[in-house]
Amino acid sequence: MRLQEAFSAAVLDSQQPCPRGLVSRNGHVESRFAVYRNNVQKGLINALAFSYPVVARLVGEYFFQEMARLFIKKSPPDSPIMSTYGVRFADFIGDFEPARSLPYLADTARLERLCVAAYHAADACAVDPQVLARMLKVPESLGQLHLQLHPGVATLDSPYAVADLWAAHQNEELSQGLDLSLPQSTVVLRYGLSVEVFAVRPGYTAFIRHLQSGHALGPAAEHALQVDPYFDLSQALALLITHDAITDLSPAPEISP
């Protein structure tokens, strides 16, 4: 095994032996090598804790460290861009036996990943409100409108009330007293420089996902109504418009290549 290959395996996995070929002035290479192992593991644990603060708080520092350590061994970063590290963390948590008593933990991680992605998403200006108002006032062509949403807009449907859980942790409140067993749909977006999280009716997320996959307003609203008979199109649009989340609209259907 080449030196860097052995070194790399041994820093990621504490059970691997210290690589051969190391020396130190006093012969005690084990404790010297442990500095690298500790730096690598701690650095990656901290990167995960930074992206998943609510998950870290829910399980406590020790549990989070051990869970993260196992994740790191299984899925080391494949990019030097640390803000993208942990895309597979939520799936890992979902399969992580010791976390089974917190069934909402994986979706909490999914929500936190969407928040990080929204924070760093590409910039895009909201469509001119006057143009928007004019287009929305023509009922006969309304259904044909194609809306382009801000790149930070994302949705999550969970069998647990993870948006409420997330919100409680933003205000340093404890999540005791929350009924997490209720299903909840969530919209994440970046408004100005801040990421905002909204607990919404399931029709909203269905509507947004349909718009994002290229459907016009009419079919997207119909789909949302099938998912949720109480879906209110004007309220859903109001949420998007008041948070600068509609960045373009075109009357003609987009022709995909």
Binding site: L22, H120, A122, L193
Partner: protein, 292 residues
């Protein structure tokens, strides 16, 4: 013949003012813009800004309009025994084109192996094949970026058997062959010299000091190894140690006033505390300027 980019790039003259600068942290974006402190420059980690948009670019754009900027990479893995990540190098090229920093620096270390990024600066065996590989990688980076880079000396905790060079001679060779400049991290010198029982001044004097384009100062953590000897760790989580300030003074006497960064990445204090460290470094620089 060695394909060096040395001839392609203008001789080293630091593009940063000979002042103290600060590492820019997201926690301090607003402090900086609201108080516009008298700081010589700001430095950012390249990889933190390899994101599409959002607050990081918003604030860096505003700060870049007001201060000289240095970009410091931690992810190129110049010492890797595998090829450089081309995609990463291209992202870097895009970032530098956008912000046009005065200086771009990287490390004499490796941090990736194959597809995996380890997020730490790992040590190299100083032998001939490493020298050739490091120089080839620096050539590739300098050719792609069309600029001279500065290379930072590492903080190390172990050494390797079968080395052909001591670290200072290795750096000397890298710099003369590749034409890159030197980012002299004074804290790293101190940390490594304590860990390997070397004389810091002898080490510094063996470096190609004519190529120094920037200095780094940071704090270390202290541990003891199995034999009970001091083991210093480059933590960037504490104020600059008195011993490092003393060594900095000696470095300035050798190289004259050179742009000096106060690095702090962990246990981040309030902004005013970092500013006080930068002011102290500015005092050292001013004294040096008056003497020379």
């Amino acid at each position: 013949m060695h394909s060096s980019t040395a001839s392609l790039i203008a001789p080293r003259i630091s593009q940063l003012p000979p002042r103290a600068g600060l590492g820019l942290k997201a926690e301090h974006f607003k402090d900086v813009l609201e108080s516009l402190p008298d700081v010589g420059f700001f430095e950012v980690h390249a990889e933190n800004y390899m994101v599409a948009g959002g607050p990081f670019h918003h604030y860096l754009g505003l700060i870049r309009e007001r201060y000289p900027l240095s970009i410091h990479g931690v992810g190129l893995s110049i010492g890797s025994d595998t090829p450089l990540n081309i995609e990463h190098l291209q992202r870097l090229q895009t970032l530098l084109a956008r912000y046009r920093p005065r200086v771009f620096s990287e490390h004499l270390a490796w941090s990736s192996h194959g597809p995996h990024f380890l997020n730490d600066l790992l040590p190299l065996r100083y032998d001939l094949s490493t020298l050739q590989r490091v120089c080839a990688h620096i050539d590739q980076v300098q050719n792609t970026l069309q600029r001279q880079i500065l290379l930072e000396n590492p903080a190390t905790y172990v050494e390797f058997d079968q080395t052909h060079f001591d670290e200072a001679s290795f750096i000397h060779e890298v710099i003369s062959r590749s034409g890159c400049g030197l980012l002299l991290d004074v804290n790293n010198v101190y940390v490594s010299c304590v860990n390997h029982d070397r004389d810091p001044l002898a080490y510094i004097n063996a470096l190609p000091l004519h190529a120094v384009g920037e200095l780094h100062l940071a704090g270390f953590a202290e541990d003891i190894d199995q034999s009970g000897q001091r083991l210093l760790i480059d933590s960037h989580g504490a104020p600059v140690d008195q011993a490092v300030w003393a060594l900095y003074q000696q470095v300035l006497e050798c190289v004259g006033p050179v742009a000096t960064l106060i690095e702090r990445d962990n246990q981040l204090p309030v902004f005013s505390e970092l500013l006080a460290q930068a002011e102290l470094a500015d005092c050292y620089l001013l004294t040096t300027r008056e003497r020379t």
